[in-house]
C-alpha cells in the first residue's frame, strides 16, 4: 500500500473577496521510503502541497489518503493525532522552543507521542542527537547554537519518534553550503537506515541532486515527475 495518495486535490484560499486557487487538481502517489523533492517557483503551490501532505490543512476538494486513512474524514483532533505519531516536520525557520535545551526540544516531540518508558525516551533522544552529530551539545539552548546546529536539532526532533514521513520545507535555505551538505547526509542516512520517507520542498539544486524523485509544481499543478533513473511519470 502506498504511504500517500492524492486524488484530484484542489485548494482555494479566500483572500477577502478574491478567491486564490493554490492547487488546481493534484494526483500523486508516494511510496514508503521515497526521497523526493518538490520544486517550483514561489507561489506555485508547493508549500500548500506540502501542508496538505502533512495533514496540516484540508483540501477544498479531492481526497488524500495517508497510511490508509482518509484525511477528509478526520477532525482537527484526529489530524493532530495523526501528525503526532506519523509525521515529522522540518521548517526553514527551525521553530525550536528557545527556553528548552536541544535535548528538551527533541524530547518534547517524543513525549507528545508517549507510549514509551522514560528510559527508552532518554535513550532515543541521546541516540538521535548523536546521529545528527550533536553529541555533547544536548544541554545547549537554541540561542547558543549555530544555524546548522539548530537545523540539526530540528531534524533530530523530526526523527526521534521514528515517523513514517518527514516533511521538510526549504531545510537548507538558511545554511551555508558545507552545513547543507552535512544535513543532507544525515537525512539520507536516516532514509537508508530507517526507511523513513522524505519529501522536501526546495530551490536548492544540491538537494535536488540527492533526491531520487523530482516533482515540479507550477500554477497549482504537477508539471514534471522524474525519477532518478530518468523515467518520467505523467500527471
Amino acid at each position: 500500500m502506498a504511504l500517500l495518495e492524492l486524488k484530484g486535490v484542489t485548494k482555494i484560499y479566500q483572500q477577502g473577496k478574491i478567491e486564490v486557487p493554490a492547487l488546481r487538481g493534484i494526483d500523486l502517489t508516494v511510496e514508503q521510503g521515497e526521497f523526493t523533492t518538490i520544486f517550483g517557483p514561489s507561489g506555485s503551490g508547493k508549500t500548500t502541497l506540502l501542508n496538505m501532505i502533512g495533514c496540516l490543512d484540508k483540501p477544498t476538494s479531492g481526497t488524500i489518503i495517508f497510511a490508509g486513512q482518509e484525511l477528509g474524514r478526520l477532525t482537527k483532533k484526529g489530524l493532530a493525532q495523526l501528525r503526532r505519531c506519523n509525521i515529522g516536520f522540518i521548517f526553514q525557520s527551525y521553530n525550536l522552543i528557545p527556553v528548552l535545551t536541544a535535548y528538551e526540544n527533541v524530547e518534547f516531540a517524543i513525549r507528545l507521542v508517549g507510549g514509551r518508558s522514560k528510559r527508552e525516551m532518554h535513550e532515543k533522544v541521546m541516540q538521535i542527537l548523536a546521529d545528527v552529530g550533536l553529541a555533547g551539545l544536548e544541554n545547549r539552548k537554541p540561542g547558543e547554537l549555530s544555524g546548522g546546529q539548530k537545523q540539526r536539532v530540528a531534524i533530530a526532533r523530526a526523527l526521534v519518534k521514528e515517523p513514517k514521513l518527514v516533511l521538510a520545507d526549504e531545510p537548507t535555505a538558511n545554511l551555508d553550503s558545507k552545513t547543507s551538505e552535512e544535513v543532507l547526509e544525515v537525512m539520507l542516512k536516516m532514509n537508508q537506515e530507517l526507511g523513513t520517507t522524505f519529501i522536501f520542498s526546495t530551490h536548492d539544486p544540491r538537494v535536488m541532486t540527492y533526491a531520487r524523485r523530482r516533482l515540479e509544481v507550477r500554477d497549482g499543478l504537477i508539471t514534471q515527475d522524474t525519477r532518478g533513473d530518468g523515467a518520467s511519470v505523467s500527471h
Binding site: 501542508n51 490543512d57 493532530a80 495523526l82 501528525r83 516536520f89 522552543i97 528548552l100 518534547f108 516531540a109
Partner: protein, 415 residues
Amino acid sequence: MGRVFLTKLALKNLLRHRNRTLITAIIIAFAIFYYIFLDSLIDGMTQLSYQTLIDYETGHLQVVTASYWEEEQELPLDNLIGLDEQILTAIRAVPGYLGSSPELAFRAMLSNGVNELPVVGKGIIPDHFGQVFAFAGQYVDGTIFQLGQYQAVLGQRLADLMQLEVGDYITLLVRDRNKTFNTIDVEVAGLVHTSNPNVNSNYVYLPLDLVQQALNTDGQVSKIIVKLANAKAAKRVAGELAGVLQTSDPRLQVYAWDDLEAVTVARAKQAANGLILVIILIIAAIAIINTVILAALERMGEIGMMKALGMQTKEVVYTFVLESVGIGIIGGLIGMLLGAVGIWALNLSGLDYGAWFDLDMASYGIPIIGKIYGAWNPHSFVLVFGFGVLVSLLASILPAYWAADKDPVKAIYHR
C-alpha cells in the same frame, strides 16, 4: 502530554521573559497592595469610630423605653425610666457587667451672658459615669463635680467657643416637662478634650439631681448605659436583658452599640470597599490579558510548531494559563508583602487625618479625632490574594485560546 512537562515549560517561559513577567506581576502587586492597605485603613478608622462611640457616648448597651428611643432626636422628657431597684438589679446581673450609668438628656441654650449656643445637656451620677466612660485622663483643666453641687463639665472646644474657663459661671436655658422655661446656673468645674467631637463641642454634663429638679422629672432618667467586658457579646446580652426587664416593665428595650445607625452606616461604607476591589482587579485583568497576547504574538512560531508536532490546542492553552497564574501568584506575594510593610508603617506612627487635611472628620459622620492606626485583617490578605490569582487565571483563558487556536500553518509562517 504530561502535566509536569507542560508545567515545567510554563515555568521556563516565565523565567525567560523575566522583565515582562516582573512588570505584569508588579502591576498586580500594586493593585493588591492598594486593596490591603485601604482595607486596613478603613478598618482602622471604623474601629476607632466605634471605640469613640463606645467609650464616650453609647457604652455597650442602652436601656431605654422603646418610645423614647424612637423620639430620641427630640430629647423629649416623656417616656423616661424610673430608677427602680428591680431594673438596676437585673442590669447588674448581666454576664460581663462592668458598670452602668443613668443619664437624663435634654436640650438647652448655653449662655455666658453675652452669647447663646444650643447644646445637649446630660444629667449624670459622677462615680457611675466614671465606671462606664473613659473620661478619667481627658481633663484638660479642673475635675468632675459631685452630686448636689452647682457645677458642670464641658468640652474644651465648647468652652473656647464661648470663651469660658474653669470657674466661670454659665446659665443653661431649658424647658421642663411642661415646656416651661427654666434656668440652671452653674459654675464650670472641669474641661475635657476627647476623641469624640460631640463630647468636645455639644455636650454639657451636670449632676443628675440638679437636672431632675430643673426639669421636674424627679427620680427619672432618659436611659441607663451599660458597659460590658466583651463588646462582641453586646447584641446577645441586649436580647437577654430586654427579656428580663420586660417582665417588670414592658415598655423597656435594650439596644446594643452595634444596633446604632452610625454603626450600620459605617458597615455600609465597608461594602463600598468591595467596589474598589472590583475596579482594582479589572486593572489586573487588563495587565494579564495584555501580557498573554504579547507573549502569544512573540511565540507564534513555536505555537505553530507545537501544533504541527501534534500538540492539542488545550495543551497549548494550559501552558499560557499556567504562566498567567504564575504571574498572579508572584504579584500576589509581592503585593501582600508590600501591604504588610504598609500596615506596619501605619501602625508605627498612625495617620493623623485631621492634621493632614485640616478637616473636621465629624462633618463626614465619622466621630474621630486623632490618629488612625491600621487594622490587621489576615482574611483580607487571603481574600485578595486568592482573588488576584483567580482573576489572572480567568483573564488569561480567552487570549490563550485565541493564540492556541491558530492554524498551525499560519502560525508557523507568522511574521
